[in-house]
Amino acid sequence: MESDSARIALEGVAEVRARVADRIVSPWWYHYGFAAAILLAYVSISFRFASYGVPFLTIAAVGLTVALKRTTGIEPRAPRATRAVVAWSLVALALTVVAMALEWGGGVKGAVAVAGVAVAAIAVVAGHRTDRALRRELRDGHDPAGL
């Protein structure tokens, strides 16, 4: 095989990755829908309706993820972007634990609802940042085989 053919083949691979990256754009409703579901769930928990809030958030999260996969036709794979999601989730979890301790341990009414606003905002900001990280990771990936 000639070196020119090898170079052209490698350029083709990079081009395909860039095309995939361009396709990975979450629709506007995904991040905002997720944030709205979080907000509703936290408010319901804060007002002692946890038995509605938690299942609602679970169903909303699963439904939005399935809808996203069907809309884009792509199930992404990006280890670095996934690690960023985990890091943002830990921040949200810590915030939630503190809010629960304040509301149920310290008697601060509405603390969980306020945390819900913060976690919803985190979901929107982190969602957009993760989308960008995902596209960057796909474009700049040094290992197109994903190994």
């Binding site: 095989m1 000639e2 070196s3 020119d4 090898a6 170079r7 083949a9 490698l10 083709g12 691979v13 395909v16 990755r17 095309r19 995939v20 990256a21 396709r23 069907r70 884009t72 036709g73 792509i74 199930e75 992404p76 794979r77 796909l138 990936g141 290992d143 197109p144 085989a145 994903g146 190994l147």
Partner: protein
């Protein structure tokens, strides 16, 4: 790091593009792969069949759609093939 290994099955240009696209994702819907690569249904089906027969591609049908994904051997074969392409391209750079 995967050792360089030329793979005849993957080397065909369209199959290399299919593999490169699927390597970047967990799975992709048939029409997305077809549209992204600008090929017809029949061409994609034909090459997908070759990759599937080689054990490199997994096809899953769900809700009237077909999802394509690379198998672990497929990812390993692609990694080896790309390493070989890089080796050949780099060798030419050293000679020139």
């Amino acid at each position: 790091m995967t050792p360089p290994a030329f793979d005849e099955t993957i080397h065909a240009p369209i199959r290399l593009q299919i593999c490169a696209m699927l390597a970047a994702v967990e799975s992709a819907e048939f029409s997305v792969v077809r549209d992204s690569l600008g090929i017809s249904d029949s061409v994609l089906s034909k090459h997908a069949k070759v990759l599937q027969t080689a054990g490199y591609l997994h096809l899953a049908k769900a809700h009237r759609t077909t999802w394509l994904s690379l198998t672990a051997p497929g990812r390993a074969a692609l990694a080896g093939h790309l390493a070989e392409l890089r080796r050949i391209a780099a060798q030419a750079g050293l000679q020139g």
